[in-house]
């Protein structure tokens, strides 16, 4: 579970491990595994073209993109879940990530499933230009339909680090926002703030505990009881396990 044994500090966790942790064994059905990015704006920086960069990250991490989406059962309740991975290009949002999210949300809307998104991202992918920015709007549009029209239940889990575009869109739009302890959550990164204000940012001013006091999230939940907490929340919102008669 990637916790420090001595002090319980929550370390970063890869997406596959997190899926194993949250979803009952034998019930995971991935969606859209074969979507990869093209180079939509033909962004060639000198060191390496964008495509090669994506390729090298794919081989290095063994993932096709920065997010894995799919359907599974959590303590017997059917859920739609998406898990982002910070190791793939810093979890940055590109066209593929946006499309995968949107399709997952549309599927959950159609099948009336509750939605969980585990967020870990550095922001929008610069190499895809304004297309990445529009993905944020695309996801928000799907979420509007999901939340306001169908009134279903969506829980984002903010892990370390969650910055930029994610905080400015689906990360903060959940019905109940859960954050992990010791996570770094921000909209503008530390460096940008220091540049704007011309003074150093004190430590811990963008940590979960501090922002919790300012009223930004609902809960801080450590990793151990996370699955049970989620299951309880779903049951409170009338999503019941299947084999419960």
């Amino acid at each position: 579970m990637n916790l420090c044994e001595q002090c319980g500090y929550h370390l970063k966790m890869s997406s596959s491990d997190r899926i194993e942790l949250s979803i009952d064994p034998g019930t995971w059905e991935p969606m859209d595994e074969d979507m990869v990015s093209l180079d939509p704006i033909e962004f060639h920086s000198e060191e390496e073209p964008y495509k090669n960069r994506v390729d090298s990250y794919q081989r290095k991490t063994g993932l096709t993109e920065a997010v894995q989406t799919g359907i599974g059962q959590l303590d017997g309740i059917n859920v739609a879940i998406a898990v982002m991975d910070f190791q793939f290009m810093g979890g940055s949002i590109g066209s593929v990530v946006g499309e995968k999210f949107t399709r997952l949300i549309e599927y959950a809307t159609k099948e009336f499933l509750p939605l969980i998104i585990v967020c870990a991202s550095g922001g929008a992918r610069m190499q895809e230009g304004s297309l990445s920015l529009m993905q944020i709007a695309k996801i928000s549009s799907a979420l509007y339909d999901y939340q306001s029209n169908k009134k279903l239940f969506y829980v984002p889990i903010l892990t370390s680090p969650t910055t930029g575009g994610v905080t400015a869109s689906f990360g903060m739009l959940g019905d109940i926002i859960i954050a992990e302890p010791n996570a770094y959550i921000a909209f503008a990164g530390k460096r940008v703030i220091e540049q704007t204000l011309n003074k150093t940012v004190p430590d811990g001013s963008q940590a979960v505990e501090y922002l919790f006091q300012k009223g930004l999230f609902d809960l801080i939940v450590p990793r151990n009881p996370l699955k049970s907490v989620l299951s309880e929340l779903f049951q409170l919102h009338t999503f019941f396990p299947l084999n419960q008669n």
Partner: protein, 742 residues
């Protein structure tokens, strides 16, 4: 004489000693700490003390700077509302600022001015020089401004003299009033919202406001909104939705304000909320990027039905400087970054992010603000005309689709498996977890597939997978049943014993034990709690296996069917046969009869003959190609037999009638039977029923006697013999049998 020193208000004027009651009343009523003058007067007032000055001091009140003049004139342009806005034209004309790349133009301009000055001074005629210089200047201007590089456009978009949101709004609207505050703590100066009319049509305006000089810039925070600004915009959006104002937004911001206070107030959440809300507004929204559009801060008021951009406006996800610093480690590479990021209006139109470009005058919008504003006005009115024709549903859908289609990716092509090493793979589900409904659904789907495939003659589906799944489920159910019945222990003990058995020969006692166990299990199976589920799954399995065998047979049958059809066609094409068929056809047409039964005998026989010829040829062809025919579907003989049977039936009926007529006894009985039946219908009773039955018996007996009548009997036997000729015929004459292929 009365010095009421504590009170802040004192009266000037001389007080006579005679203080009347009304004086006292007045003074104490004036809200002064009521020390009655009288008492004081009584105390220390001496006579003749005149010239006491009581001075009124007005409390110091803060002097607010209000934008309205002393006397608001309702007839000024923009009506009364324009007096409420503190945004007035600047007192000093802005200093002209030249950008880097405009330097050569400025030099040319200076030269022209020099030449003109010289002409004035010396009086010589330099007009043609002046004209040529002017032409060169115009040409250079046009060249420069039609071929701007992205970074040049960025610099123009950030030009200090570029017209701001309020400049444009006051140029294009008839009336405009600014609305303030987010009703939750602050009125952000960087975001301006308000309502107004253009050509009589009302709109809600909102946008980022930069300053026109340094002082204003600081006051407006350089156009970088805090969460308060976004919440103000959100409030206005709800307002517009509520009252039906179409929304026009103007985007001109380097980005959202990035400081600690904003983070704590929830900058991300404010933007997210705006994004989500904009997709639910039932009024048309048009966004115009008039300067720079900085990432999320710009998008928060930019999710529109139509996104228009001024010619030199830019819209980026990260500013070129930031991008260069991250990717190339130096901010000096920003021109390269600006070019690669595709941030100009042209490029964004190509990517279908922007829906249109509004032209700017040569030299940038700051060269001719009025003209630019008119262009913007026309663009707004055109877009709104188009959008107002749509209904609410269509409008929301249009907005959703505009963003839904943005993005470039590829899918469907198989991905190198080594790139997917770490992705969580799909696992086989554990048995017992799949709900009955899901299984039924899968079985039905498979059945539908088979049916559909029958029509389109193509079957390739996963029956085997489903069968395995079902079998696993059934095994699981069996073990559950065993557990429930308490036989599990015995089962496991037996298993151990068998495993120990060396030469795989079971001792008779073991076999007997096994038999007993089996019987016990089978008997008690019905009492197991999950018996119902088990039965259900078994039935599903049966259905699937049936479907599977059918599918397999069908698969085999398909190519053969094709072959047979082919051969038949070949046979028909044979010249001799074809000739005969043509002849027959001609004859049939001639006789004008369409139904085969009505042919006269001759024609019938001819048809039969041709038919037989065709059949024999066909059989030969099939046999030669390796298909073994075992029985024929003989249709004409079919119909002939049918005809014969009908004939016989008619004859028999006739004979029965005759017999009945001739035998008065039977006739009477039948009459009585008829009566009884009628009676029975009207008033059924046991008695009448019995009577009917006995009568029926008697009549049958009588008729059976008649059947021994010779003629009918002969005919009957003859028919039977004919029918028996054709193998496999049922006595009712129905025959359809698939030929059995070797």
């Amino acid at each position: 004489m009365a010095s009421v020193s504590q009170s802040p208000v004192t009266f000037s004027g001389s007080l006579s000693s005679a203080t009347s009651a009304s004086d006292l009343l007045r003074s104490s009523m004036n809200g002064v700490n009521g020390v009655p003058l009288k008492t004081l007067g009584k105390g220390h007032v001496g006579h003749g003390r005149k010239g006491l000055n009581i001075v009124a001091k007005v409390r110091k009140v803060k002097k607010h700077e209000y934008p309205w003049p002393q006397d608001p004139d309702p007839n000024v342009k923009g009506g009364v509302l324009s007096h409420l806005s503190p945004f007035k034209p600047l007192k000093e004309k802005p200093k002209p600022v030249t950008l880097e790349f405009e330097k050569p133009l400025m030099d040319l301009q200076k030269k022209i001015i020099d030449v003109q000055k010289m002409a004035n001074e010396t009086g010589l005629d330099f007009s043609d020089q002046i004209i040529s210089l002017e032409n060169k200047y115009q040409q250079a201007l046009k060249d420069l401004y039609t071929h701007l590089t992205p970074i040049q456009r960025v610099n123009i978009a950030r030009h200090p003299n570029r017209p701001t949101f309020l400049d444009h709004v006051f140029n294009i609207t008839d009336k405009f009033v600014e609305l303030h505050g987010d009703r939750a703590g602050y009125d952000d100066p960087a975001v301006v919202t308000g309502i107004g009319t253009i050509d009589g049509r009302r709109f809600m305006f909102m946008g980022h406001q930069k300053g026109r000089n340094t002082k204003e810039n600081i006051q407006r925070n350089f156009g970088m909104p805090t969460p308060h600004g976004y919440r103000k915009a959100l409030r206005m959006m709800y307002y517009a939705d509520h009252h039906g104002f179409p929304i026009v937004t103007f985007i001109d911001t380097p980005g959202a304000f990035a400081d600690l206070k904003s983070e704590e107030l929830g900058q991300g959440e404010a933007i997210a909320h705006n994004l989500r809300t904009m997709f639910g507004l039932k009024v048309p929204i048009v966004s115009i990027v008039m300067g720079e559009g900085g990432s999320g801060g710009a998008l928060a008021i930019g999710c529109a039905n139509k996104l228009l951009m001024l010619e030199n406006a830019v819209f980026y996800v990260a500013s070129p400087e930031a991008c260069a610093a991250i990717l190339w480690k130096t901010a000096k590479a920003s021109p390269k970054a600006a070019e690669k990021l595709k941030i100009t209006a042209n490029e964004l139109c190509k990517l279908q992010i922007a829906d249109g470009i509004i032209p700017e005058p040569l030299g940038g919008a700051h060269a001719d603000p009025q003209w630019t504003s008119m262009q913007i006005k026309n663009a707004i009115l055109d877009s709104m005309d188009e959008l107002e024709k749509m209904g609410t549903e269509e409008l929301l859908r249009h907005r959703m689709l505009k963003f839904r289609k943005i993005g470039g990716f590829q899918e469907g092509l198989p991905v190198d498996p080594e790139k997917k090493v770490n992705m969580k793979r799909k696992e086989e589900p554990r048995p017992g977890l799949i709900s009955d409904k899901a299984l039924q659904g899968e079985v039905n789907k498979l059945k539908e597939q088979i049916l559909k495939a029958k029509e389109t003659s193509s079957i390739n589906m996963d029956q085997n997978g489903l069968i395995e799944k079902l079998q696993r489920e059934i095994n699981y159910e069996f073990s559950e049943a065993a557990k429930a019945l308490g036989i599990e222990e015995k089962l496991s003990k037996m298993r151990e014993e068998f495993a120990k058995a060396e030469n795989e020969q079971l001792t008779p006692s073991q076999i007997k034990n096994l038999e007993n166990l089996k019987n016990e299990f089978n008997e008690n199976l019905a009492t197991a709690p999950n018996y119902g589920r088990l039965k259900y799954k078994l039935s599903l399995l049966k259905e699937i296996t049936e479907a599977k065998t059918f599918a397999e047979n069908y698969k085999k049958a398909l190519p053969l069917k094709a072959k047979v059809n082919e051969k038949f066609k070949e046979v028909l094409e044979k010249p001799t046969l074809k000739q005969n068929i043509e002849n027959i056809k001609a004859e049939i047409e001639k006789s004008g009869v369409s139904n085969i039964e009505e042919f006269d005998q001759e024609l019938k026989e001819k048809v039969l003959e041709v038919r037989e010829q065709v059949e024999s040829e066909f059989v030969n062809a099939l046999e030669s190609s390796g298909v073994h025919v075992t029985s024929k579907v003989d249709q004409t003989s079919m119909s002939m037999i049918k005809a014969k049977v009908d004939e016989l039936n008619a004859e028999i009926n006739q004979i029965i009638q005759d017999v009945i007529e001739s035998t008065p006894d039977l006739k009477n009985k039948i009459e009585i039977l008829k009566l009884e039946i009628v009676k029975d219908k009207n008033a059924p009773s046991k008695e009448s029923k019995e009577k009917i039955e006995s009568l029926q018996q008697q009549i049958k007996q009588g008729v059976a006697d008649v059947m021994s009548f010779a003629a009918v009997k002969d005919k009957y036997e003859q028919l039977q013999a004919e029918l028996a000729e054709l193998a496999g015929v049922g006595s009712d004459g129905s025959l359809i049998k698939e030929p059995i292929y070797a």
